[in-house]
Symmetry: C2
Subunit: 162 residues, 2 copies
C-alpha cells in the first residue's frame, strides 16, 4: 500500500494545495489544505489531516468519520483558491468552483473528479490539539483566534489516480 | 526540504525497522521503530514518532526535545532486533549491537553511523494519546498494558545519507 501511495509526489503536491473532502448522506464539502502527514501507524498506512474547530468541514468530518484527499496533478489553482477562501456554510463550493464529484471506491465520501491523485481514508484516531501543550510562538503564529486544529488519523483504504 | 527527504524510500524502510535515537548530555539510547509519519505541518517538514510511556526512550526524549531517525540502507537486522527487544535501562545498546554514533549536524543528538538515511528533528509539539479517544479494538490490540504512545512532532532540520 505504501509503495502504491506515491508518498513523495503526494507531499510535494500537498504543500502547494489539495482538496480535503468529507461529509455524509449526500451533503459534502471540500476545503483546501496544505498540511498533512503520511506514514504507518498501528500497522496501517495512514494519512493525517488537521482541521480547525471553526471550519464547516469540522462538523462534517466529526459526523462522518471518513474523508478523501484529492491532490491535483494539473493546474487547479482557481478552484483551490476558492475552496480555501470561502466557507461551505455560505456557498456550494462544488458549484462555485465548477468541481465534479465522483463516488469513492472504499468510503461513502466522494473524491474530486479530475482531482489527480486520490486517497480514501477512514478515521481510526482523532485528537484535538491542546493550547497548553504549545509554545507561545506556535500559539501566536498559528492560533491567534484560538481555533485549534484537531488531528484526524485516517487509515488509507485506497489510493489511485485519474 | 521535502524533495530532499526521500519520503517514499524512508517510509518503505521505516515499515521494516529504523533506529530512533535520543538523549542528552552524552547519555543516549536508541530503539527500533516501525511506525511514523512524514509530512508538512505548521509550515514545516515534519517527522512524527510515537513512544510508549513505558520505554526508556520516553524519559530521554521528554528531557531532550529532539531526536534522530536512522533508516538502514543495508541489512542491519541483527542490530534492529536487539534494539527492539532490549531496554537501554539494562544494557548499553550501542555496545551490545556494535553500533557507532556520529555527531548530529543540526541537533545535539547523534545518528547511527552507517545507519543509511538520517533525519534530524526538533520536537515542536507533543501530545500523549488518550485512551478515552480510542476504540475498544485499538485499546485491545495495541494497548493491553495501558502503556500509551505519546506523539512527538519533530521539525526536520536535516536529512542526509551516509
Amino acid at each position: 500500500m505504501l509503495k502504491e501511495a506515491q508518498v513523495e509526489k503526494a507531499l510535494d503536491i500537498l504543500s502547494r494545495g489539495a482538496f480535503l473532502t468529507t461529509g455524509k448522506d449526500g451533503k459534502y464539502n471540500t476545503m483546501t489544505i496544505g498540511w498533512g502527514n503520511i506514514g504507518v501507524v498501528w500497522g496501517k498506512p495512514t494519512f493525517t489531516v488537521l482541521v480547525r474547530s471553526s471550519r464547516h468541514t469540522y462538523g462534517l468530518i466529526e459526523s462522518s468519520g471518513e474523508f478523501t484527499v484529492s491532490l491535483p496533478l494539473t493546474d487547479m489553482k482557481d478552484a483551490l483558491n476558492l475552496c480555501g477562501s470561502k466557507s461551505g456554510r455560505d456557498i456550494d463550493k462544488f458549484q462555485a468552483a465548477d468541481l465534479r464529484l465522483q463516488p469513492g471506491r472504499t468510503v461513502n465520501t466522494p473524491v474530486i473528479a479530475g482531482g489527480g491523485l486520490h486517497y480514501e481514508c477512514k478515521v481510526v484516531y482523532k485528537q484535538a490539539m491542546q493550547p497548553e501543550l504549545m509554545s507561545d510562538a506556535m500559539k501566536k503564529q498559528w492560533y491567534p483566534q484560538e481555533d485549534y486544529h484537531t488531528l484526524y488519523f485516517g487509515e488509507i483504504t485506497a489510493v489511485y489516480s485519474d
